[in-house]
Chain length 207, copies 2
C-alpha cells in the first residue's frame, strides 16, 4: 500500500503543525503556513479546503500522540507505587520533549466547545479506549483494598498527577522570564519539580 500523500501536502501539514502549535488557530494565517511550506496560499486550500479542516487534522493527530503516551503507564501491571513513579516519569519526559503540546491541546479544549465535542465523539467511536481508564480504576481500587494506598477516587488520583505534571510546564515560560533563568536552569527547575511531585504523591497517598 503506497503512500498517496504528496510531498507538498505533507509539507503543508508539517508547517501547519509547527505554526498552529506555536501561535494557535487565530494566530496563524493560511498565508503564513504557505510561506513556511514554500508554496502559495491557494495550495493550502486546494489540499485542505478550509483552515478549520486543516487545524482539525493537526489537533486530532497531536491529541492521539499524547494519548498514546498517557496510556502506557496506566496499563502496565506492577506494584502501585512503581506505576505512580512510571506515570510521573513518562509524563514529564513527554513534556520535556514536546513542551508546547500540552498548552496547545489545553488551550483549544478550553476555548473551543466544538473541539471538546469532536474529542468526545472520537471516544464514543472507539469505546475500547475507555478500557484504559477502567483498567486504571481497577488497579487503584485493588491497591486501596490491599492497603497499599489510602482511600481515593481514581479520577482524583489522575487529576493529582496531572495537576503536578502539567502545571509545572505551563509555568515554565513564566518562571523563566520572572527569575531570569537560562535554558539549563530551566531544565533543573523542571527536574526539581519532578522530584517534588513524586515526594508529595508518594507521601500523600500512604494510608
Amino acid at each position: 500500500m503506497r503512500n498517496n500523500t504528496s510531498n507538498t501536502e505533507s509539507q503543508i501539514l508539517a508547517s501547519a503543525e509547527k505554526l498552529f502549535i506555536e501561535k494557535g488557530f487565530k494566530g496563524t494565517s493560511t498565508t503564513a503556513i504557505a510561506k513556511d511550506a514554500g508554496c502559495n496560499q491557494a495550495l493550502v486550500h486546494y489540499y485542505f479546503r478550509t483552515k478549520e479542516n486543516l487545524f482539525q487534522k493537526v489537533f486530532l493527530g497531536k491529541f492521539k500522540q499524547l494519548f498514546e503516551q498517557i496510556k502506557v503507564p496506566l496499563e502496565r501491571e506492577t506494584d502501585f507505587f512503581s506505576k505512580l513513579e512510571n506515570m510521573v516519569d513518562v509524563y514529564f519526559n513527554f513534556m520535556i520533549q514536546n513542551p508546547k503540546i500540552p498548552y496547545f491541546i489545553f488551550n483549544e479544549l478550553i476555548t473551543n466547545p466544538r473541539r471538546r465535542k469532536q474529542l468526545r465523539e472520537l471516544f464514543m467511536q472507539k469505546p475500547h479506549q475507555d478500557d484504559v481508564y477502567h483498567q486504571f480504576c481497577a488497579s487503584v481500587e485493588k491497591a486501596i483494598s490491599q492497603g497499599v494506598i489510602r482511600d481515593i477516587e481514581p479520577l482524583d488520583l489522575l487529576m493529582d498527577v496531572g495537576s503536578l505534571v502539567v502545571f509545572s510546564f505551563l509555568m515554565a515560560p513564566i518562571i523563566t522570564d520572572f527569575l531570569d533563568l537560562d535554558q539549563s536552569h530551566l531544565t533543573d527547575f523542571v527536574d526539581h519539580r519532578k522530584r517534588e511531585a513524586l515526594t508529595l504523591l508518594f507521601q500523600g497517598l500512604r494510608v
Copy 2:
C-alpha cells in the same frame, strides 16, 4: 477629588474587560467592544488610542485584583496547617467567583512575552510586593525548623498548591463536557477537588 472618568469611558472599559476575558485579545475586536458598550467604534480609540493600550489596562487591573487575593493568606500569621488550609480555601473561592480570570491571565502570560516583561517591571517598581513572598518563605522555613512540616522549598510549596487549585479550574469546562455534567454537578466536582487537594497537601507535607 471627583471622578474624572466619564460614563462612556468606564462603560467601554467594562465591555472590554468582559469580552477580553471571554474571547482573548485576538478574539475581540474594537467594533465588538463598541457595540457592547453602546457606542461607536471610533470612541474606543478616542479614549484608549489603541486596542493594545486598552488591553493592557484590563490585564494589569485583573492581575492586581488576583494578586491582592493571593497575598492575604500568605501574610497571615497562624500555625502552618491553618495557613495552608486558608490558602486553598481563599484560592478556590476566588476561582469559583471568577472562573475565567485564571485562564485569562495564564493565557496572556504564556503566549505573550511582552506581557511577562510588563509584569516584571510592575514588580520592580514596587519591590515591597516582594515582601509578601519573603514573608511566606520565612514562615515556611520556620515551620520546617519547628518540625511541623517536612523539608521543602517555599517555591515548591507554592507550586504544589497552585497546581492543585488552578488545574481543577482549567479542567472544569473539559470535565463538564466529557462527563455531561450540569452546573450543580460541576460545583460538586470542584468542591470535591478542594477536599482532595487539602488531604494530599496535609498528608504530603507531614514529616
